[in-house]
């Protein structure tokens, strides 16, 4: 047993780095803490979502007209989003754990956990996962003083952590309160590990939220563009084949990730003929992450 433990301990060197080593905690124990926290969050979940019907997300209105030649040309062809199938989802919370490990989401201290304040990018609301909806007409981005919250041409509401001053205006202005603020210095408290090198750790005092696994999309875009340039093709990148961590982890495939503007995307196929919903407070902001329930 001791030998297994030792081996587990040695594994840390490969997977985690210096972050959080102050506690000297083993990776397996850390992972267990993560799981416990998710379990707690799922069990404590409360509140209902007030869903209203919405049409299928289309191109973002207005904002792309001004794209100059120097900017990304792929502006109009992509709009990434997700649909969560409420008929399939049973609220198991696996998506939360997958998201946390993928995005190096910090744990919270015990007293915060007791008050139900987690850093999770996915909340359980009304028995279903709820995350940032990546509104096409995002209220949070309008009020961010530094431009740290901004939209990519691909329809992702991105956060530039290094540009964030932590004025928390975006958090206040999000109608669904999908944004989380780093009250703690998680690295110092040993509440976070760099489980995934692709995602930077967030420092104390910045806002964070669901990024639609932006790093996966970025990696895929770069790979695609490299290959396209070698092959001499003019194909546009549509983000085919990319999945978010939560969509990947869902045992019932209730979360579908894709490109709303790509007819071949699994998302568009899954949403065809289904009735789409969004939380009432977000419905008029053109959300890209929606819920599916029943046939249309």
């Amino acid at each position: 047993m001791a030998l297994v433990g030792l081996l587990q301990g040695c594994k840390k060197g490969q997977l985690g780095d210096g972050a959080g080593t102050g506690s000297g905690e083993r990776l397996s124990a850390f992972m267990k803490r993560c799981e416990d926290e998710v379990r707690l969050a799922v069990s404590e979940a409360h509140g209902r979502m007030d869903l209203v019907k919405v049409p299928m997300p289309k191109e973002m209105k207005g904002s792309l007209a001004g794209f100059s030649a120097g900017s990304a040309r792929e502006a109009s062809v992509n709009r990434f989003g997700m649909a969560i199938d409420l008929d399939l989802c049973n609220g198991c919370g696996k998506c939360i754990l997958a998201c946390n490990t993928e995005n190096n989401v910090a744990l919270v201290t015990d007293e915060e956990a007791a008050r139900g304040r987690f850093m999770h990018w996915i909340d359980m609301r009304g028995g279903a996962p709820f995350m940032c909806a990546h509104c096409g007409d995002a209220p949070c981005e309008k009020v961010c003083p530094t431009g740290a919250a901004n939209h990519t041409p691909d329809g992702i509401s991105a956060m530039m952590y290094k540009r964030c001053t932590g004025s928390r205006f975006c958090g206040a202005n999000c109608p669904a309160k999908a944004r989380k603020f780093n009250f703690n210095d998680a690295q110092e408290l040993g509440l976070v590990r760099k489980l995934n090198y692709d995602v930077p750790l967030r420092e104390k005092g910045v806002m964070e939220k669901c990024s639609l696994c932006l790093h996966r999309l970025q990696n895929d875009r770069m790979r695609f563009k490299t290959e396209a340039a070698i092959a001499g093709s003019n194909a546009e990148w549509r983000g085919r084949g990319v999945k978010t961590a939560c969509a990947e982890a869902c045992p019932r495939n209730a979360i579908v990730f894709g490109n709303w503007l790509d007819p071949e995307s699994p998302l568009v196929k899954a949403a065809q003929g289904r009735q789409l919903y969004a939380p009432r407070e977000l419905a008029e902001h053109d959300p890209a992450v929606v819920f599916m329930m029943g046939k249309r």
């Binding site: 007409d137 209220p139 309008k142 009020v143 008029e284």
Partner: protein, 152 residues
């Protein structure tokens, strides 16, 4: 808010303006009147605009204040001294309510009534150039304000 109620509001402003700045009326009387108008305008908007039926209609949020501004505009025509200065100030007050009310509504997804704002700004600017405000000019201004209120 129906155009009829909107026109009614304009009439109410005109009526209330009659009571302001009477000769030798005291400081307190004038301000009490203003506060009273404020409340009357609020009640008028609340019921006339059917605010409680349609939930909250953001466009009506600053309506009573606009009415107050219009009423002040009307009332300045009867001032004895420094009429032009206060006329301009009252119009700028109106402009200010329209502009910043519009900006705050713009952030909540409504369009700004630019024609209205430009009209008020224009008349405020040009009335600042008037050297003497005759009875005819007063009448013209009032007609213009009413037109802005009802049509723009």
């Amino acid at each position: 808010m129906t155009p009829f109620v909107n026109a009614l509001a304009c009439l109410l402003c005109l009526a209330s303006a009659m009571f302001l700045w009477r000769y030798k009326s005291s400081f307190y009387r004038n301000s009490l009147l203003l506060v009273g108008f404020m409340i009357i305008f609020g009640v008028f908007t609340f019921f006339g605009g059917e605010m409680f039926e349609a939930g909250s209609i953001p466009m009506l949020e600053h309506y009573p204040f606009k009415m107050l501004a219009l009423s002040l505009c009307f009332s300045t025509t009867s001032l004895a001294v420094r009429r032009r200065r206060y006329m301009v100030l009252a119009q700028v007050f109106w402009l200010w309510i329209e502009l910043f009310g519009g900006i705050s509504l713009f952030y909540r997804g409504f369009d700004i009534a630019w024609t209205r704002i430009i009209a008020i700004a224009g008349i405020a600017f040009f009335s600042s150039l008037l050297s003497k405000i005759s009875k005819e000019m007063e009448f013209c201004l009032m007609v213009f304000w009413i037109a802005v209120w009802i049509f723009f």
